[in-house]
């Protein structure tokens, strides 16, 4: 038990909702015995690298994040039962075998980059940018895998990042939430004039043109199909599976890139979304890819498959408290601080850098410069101190605000009052005083 893989939790009958996490799970289950590692359901705020998937190597106490760095780390420090089908052939093997091996490795690098550069934005369009799919499928899935207050914060951040990622495709019309927010609520009055038609009637009357009656996905279906074809044509050309189990060493792809391709394609095909344009394209035109997904999923994740049942664990053995009530509250507070206008960005940047700076020297000595490695020793106390300090500061600010508010006069009370001075004879100079004394005498 030397490896802990922290991933987003399961969704859509798959072990993870995120493509890179899914690929990392598949890679470990393909290459390593399930007794050698554990899977821990997590979220970016719970790991020191702030990015999932994250691999915690307990022997050297290092954190590695990202699919590429994780596979590199596992190959460099293999667990005892590691089976690497992509290892370079023995030196005595033929020249053609070696060159084929090198070509396969180069292809694997290229297709990994292709998947990250092009399949990820396409997947983001389908699951994250499209408002209907996000509301009906993806957001509920995130809510199911996150502990209670976190679904308020983290899924929207993930969605914003994914929308950024797909921004260059120019399909923001799928995001009807943003369009509605822009329109605001005021336009119903302005467009209807002085006759107020009830909203339920108005929408049916207004949808006179074909374009308005279509959902955004239907309206831009031709462009979406073109984008999907651009990506899937390239992927469909590759032979993702070795021709037979015995010909593994003649495979044209490596295990790592196969896992990555499976992860992206499975998340395109399997989720049950209300606007299934991507799914339809795959089913109709790329049956080969669909078959590959089905076989690979059975091979990897079924109980009788290569790796056996997946070794899920509830909490990490390092005594991490990130899933306890306090830990979740701290993550929630951290997320809230990150969402604050003006200062949120600085806060997050500072927090991340702080996590990464911890003991960089040691990491150099270990010669692990190639991976993203974050080592964390005894920083827990500092974190607690820091959180307590931040909490105290927040408390002080809140108290000051409450005090100031209490000092305000009651609502509606006059802030200034003018009183008419009492005019009497004694205020009219010496003569007045004389008359006043005379009058008081009379009385």
């Amino acid at each position: 038990m030397v490896l802990e893989l922290h991933v987003w939790g399961p969704a859509f009958h798959l072990p993870s909702i995120d493509a890179e996490c899914l690929a990392a799970v598949a890679y470990l289950s393909q290459t390593t015995n399930s007794a050698e590692y554990r899977l821990i359901q997590s979220s970016p705020s719970a790991v020191p690298t702030h990015h999932l998937p994250a691999l915690h190597d307990l022997t050297s106490d290092t954190w590695t994040s990202g699919f590429g760095p994780i596979t590199a780390h596992i190959r460099a420090h293999p667990p005892p039962t590691f089976r690497d089908n992509d290892a370079s052939p023995p030196p005595g093997s033929s020249h053609s075998a070696q060159s084929r091996q090198r070509a396969a490795a180069a292809d694997a690098t290229a297709y990994s980059a292709f998947l990250t550069a092009h399949a990820a934005p396409l997947l983001a369009l389908s699951l994250y940018v499209s408002s209907a799919n996000w509301a009906a499928t993806t957001r509920p899935a995130y809510s199911a895998i996150l502990p209670f207050p976190l679904p308020w914060i983290e899924p929207s951040a993930v969605r914003a990042a994914m929308a950024d990622r797909a921004g260059h495709l120019g399909m923001s019309s799928l995001d009807t939430d943003a369009a509605d927010a822009e329109k605001g609520s005021g336009d119903s009055v302005s467009s209807a004039g002085w006759v107020q038609v009830p909203a339920s009637l108005r929408s049916k009357m207004a949808a006179t043109s074909v374009k308005e009656a279509l959902t955004p996905e239907q309206a831009s279906r031709i462009r979406l199909d073109g984008m999907a074809a651009d990506v899937l044509d390239v992927l469909a050309e590759v032979e993702w599976e070795p021709a037979s189990a015995t010909a593994v060493d003649e495979a044209t792809t490596t295990t790592a890139v196969r896992c990555l391709a499976f992860a992206y394609l499975a998340l395109m095909l399997l989720p049950d979304v209300p606007r299934p344009w991507l799914k339809d394209v795959m089913r109709a035109r790329y049956p080969g890819l669909c078959d590959f997904i089905g076989r690979f999923a059975i091979d990897c994740f079924s109980a009788g498959g290569a790796g056996g049942p997946l070794p899920w664990a509830t909490s990490s053995s390092g005594g991490s408290s990130s899933n306890s009530v306090g830990g979740v509250c701290a993550r929630f507070a951290h997320g809230l601080a990150g969402e604050m206008p003006l200062v949120g960005r600085q806060w997050r940047r500072w927090w991340t850098q702080r996590g990464k700076k911890q003991q960089p020297e040691e990491q150099h000595q270990k010669g692990l410069g190639k991976q993203t490695v974050v080592t964390r020793n005894g920083s827990k106390n500092k974190d607690v101190l820091l959180l307590a300090g931040a909490g105290l500061a927040t408390l002080a600010v809140v108290n000051a605000a409450v005090f100031w508010y209490r000092a305000l006069p009651p609502f509606g009370a006059p802030v200034q009052t003018w009183r008419l001075p009492l005019v009497s004879l004694s205020t009219l100079g010496a003569a007045g005083a004389m008359f006043a004394s005379v009058l008081s005498d009379v009385e």
Binding site: P44, G68, A105, A113, F114, A117, H118, R165, R345
Partner: protein
């Protein structure tokens, strides 16, 4: 009282007071002649040669030297390789109709030429190597690494303005934009810092993959094409600039048979280009450079300019 106004414009309803009208009758006091176009506009807007607007300096533009921006250099190289006669002029993003350089202003009379283009879907996969890991490493090295800030200043900041305040702001903006570009492609929602070691490791893998691809080819050009293609030009755009700008001499014993990036020069992208595979990329860079810049035909074009 309405008499003075009606003398000039009888139809006007509101009379203009006499003194005001006198004042405005004097305007314009003097009409200048229209300014002549600046002298360089003659070469900038007209001509029989198409003009490619790129990031470069005045001196380099006159010589037709390679641009220092990978996106511009790609198309500059491609046009030269295709044998198109054109000229380059220095410009900035603000001048471009699309907001980014390069852009091409075609000549008044055009003839069409066709360039060879390999027809393979594998090209898309290898193109992704340039678009993602290599571009990210270039952005990281030039914009975000503090040891290259002098170079960044020389290329992009100093030609833009001589004011210290504007330069500081510009530098900050460029850095921020480069960081956003990198973060966008790595999908790290909550993390707002760039992981430079992973970027350079990914770039090293990418260069090795390109070197293997080039070694497969029989003709010396990518995908065994008989002549250099757009893909050769886009690889050259990065390798040339990394060898020219981001290189430093390294010790041979640092390179472990091409298996690991040279550790002391982990950040030297030029060293990565030279050491990837068995040096195929550096040879390729030299071939493209000789073909595009040192052929007599190309020199003749420069003679016209």
């Amino acid at each position: 009282m309405s008499a003075p106004a009606t003398t000039t414009t009888p139809s006007r309803r509101l009379p203009v007071p006499r003194p005001l009208q006198k004042l405005f009758d004097c305007v314009p006091l003097l009409t200048y002649e229209a300014n002549g176009l600046p002298a360089r506009s003659q070469s900038a807007t007209s001509g029989d040669l198409p003009t490619l607007y790129v990031f470069t300096s005045d001196e380099d533009a006159r010589l037709g030297a390679p641009s220092f921006n990978p996106g511009c250099l790609k198309w500059q190289t491609f046009l030269r390789l295709a044998g198109v006669e054109f000229r380059i002029l220095p410009s900035t993003n603000h001048a471009s109709p699309t907001g980014s350089l390069p852009f091409l202003l075609p000549a008044r009379t055009t003839d069409t030429k066709t360039a060879p283009e390999p027809e393979t879907l594998r090209l898309d996969a290898y193109q992704a190597l340039l678009d993602l890991p290599i571009r990210n490493a270039w952005l990281q090295a030039l914009y975000l690494d503090s040891d290259q800030s002098a170079l960044l200043d020389r290329l992009y900041i100093e030609p833009a303005s001589s004011s210290r305040w504007i330069r500081t702001t510009l530098r900050h903006q460029l850095r921020r934009a480069a960081e956003q570009e990198i973060l966008k492609t790595t999908s790290t929602p909550s993390s707002t810092t760039v992981d430079d070691k992973a970027l350079y490791a990914a770039a090293w893998d990418a260069f090795n993959a390109l070197a293997v691809l080039l070694a497969e080819s029989e003709t010396g050009w990518f995908f065994s094409s008989p002549a250099p293609t757009l893909f050769d030009a886009s690889v050259f755009a990065y390798t040339h600039l990394m060898l020219q700008l981001l290189d430093a001499p390294d010790d041979d014993d640092e390179v472990h048979g091409g298996l690991m990036p040279p550790r002391s020069n982990l950040r030297r992208l030029g060293a990565m280009v030279r050491n990837a595979g068995s040096g195929e990329l550096a040879l390729h860079q030299r071939r493209v450079r000789e073909l595009a810049w040192l052929e007599p035909a190309a020199v003749a074009v420069e003679g016209i300019l």
